[in-house]
Amino acid sequence: MLETIAQYAFNGLVFGANYALIGIGLTLIFGVMNLANFAHGQFYMLGGFLAYMLVVKLGVNYFAALPLAVLAVAALGWLLERTVFIRLRDRSPMTGVLATIGLAILLESGALLTWGPQPESIPNPLSPMPIEIGPLFITPMRLFVLGVTVVFLLGLYAFMNHTRTGTAMRATFQNRDAAALVGVDIDRLYAVTFALGAGLAALAGVLLGSLFLVHPTMGDSATLKAFIVVILGGLGSVIGSAVGGLILGMAESFGTMVSSAWKDAIGFILVIVILLYRPDGLFRR
């Protein structure tokens, strides 16, 4: 019994860390640009598919394909901010949201046309045999995914607190006009933030896509999960998203012990409870 619980907890940790990655990307974009990005899950999907294309069609080594896919999606995010979202900056927040919805449906249906509806797996060179660690049986790939995610989360924390760009982001979270007044280059910051957010989503897409499968419609549920994470943690709070991601991952993992059909409803129930008792989320920004 204890082994089972430990196994579920480990799975929850792997998922939770990845939900945190997606959620932090979303909350950065939200906090800096005041934009609820409904195309976030599609960046996650694109990351997975680009890695699949690189490995399977072009024969690139998995460990090279991972950063390449992430960088490509980040570049796409940068480009989209420069061409589309920059024009919507001074319009009502609703227009920005509508544009991301258009983008989401464009990317998803474009992916369906390009890659077809069937799920694909990203091959990786690690052994599929589980290794025994204490009470746990863990495949090397899961360990790799968890390791990369944790390294990135810690790196992000350092980036936000110890670099000029990170500090500028936090300043813009608090007060955009004041940040611009003290010399933050808002144009550059917006583009960097959108690229970073898209890249984090893509990273999660490659990592989870390596454990399971990638398919063109996986973005929708990822967007919803990311929003759940962000509402749990508090809109615009980076720490909150990390914690919210872990809570959601754990809750879903243990939820499958009870009922796998209703697993996806757990996040929504959490959101309703949070909205009833702590409407600003666990961590206020």
Binding site: T95, L98, I105
Partner: protein, 328 residues
Amino acid sequence: MASSGADRGKARLVVALGAAAVVAVPLVIGGYHLHLLIMAAIFAILAASLGLVIGYAGLLSLGHVAFFGIGAYTSALLFLKFGISMWWGLLAAAALSSVMAFLLGALILRVRGNRFVIVTVAFAEIMRLIAHNWVDLTRGQMGLPGILPPKIAFLGIDFNDKASFYYLVVVIAFLCIWMLSRIARSPLGWGFLAVRENETLGESVGVSAYRHAMAVFVVGAFFAGIAGSLYAHYINFIAPDLFYFSYTTILLVMVVMGGLGTIAGPVIGALVFTLVPEYLRVASEYRLVFFGAILIVGILFVPRGLIELWERALRALPARVRELMARG
């Protein structure tokens, strides 16, 4: 304004001609074309009600499709389990959709903005999960077949016939859209604008933003429920994919590109974006790409939608043509 009498006469003529055309349609066309018009009318109710919520009150509800689905399931289950016809099913659908909107509104309408947007998406997804997983009631993914249209026994009318259903849906759609535009122009409708434009100012002159937001949300759901009931009894079959986000996207294109802040705009949007993709032979797999692209391009370059496009087209015409058109 010497010509206002003549203008009014002209307007009456246009309305009369329009009405005659609507009545004559089933005599001229049938089959698939009639089917498209029926779908366009159902979407017109749905888009007009969402237009009130988004365009007037500024509440970006992405869960409108859930109220459509709730309406469809309510009406379908009443018919299939208890043999209750669409006449009562329609009212029950509208009522239950409104109640659900009230409950959801009580949870999220006190704090609006981005959190509202996100929770409405989540709400539609919860409803989809229920329709999908509560197999005993909804048959899950297999869906509910055999939802028949109503009859008027003593007149011998059976709406199973496509032309009859067309007349029925046109009458109901007309009534719904008329009521929605009356609401939009009533003092209640001005209150909705206050929610959108300046909450603080509105509150200071006694407009409760929360109550007006709640009112518009419930009214919107009421009409979405009616549309759902009509859909279920027309198509005869419903399944959980009614709740898919892709329907929300299509609705948003109709509302936003039709023209925000009007009721006529979303109605025109519903007609255009139901009919045009069909007649342009946009194959179904390209349709969503098309809608996604239209939404982005439209927001960027024609924020007031088809109305703005129309005005620009007029302005682009040579002066002489415009003069001729003005003389009529």
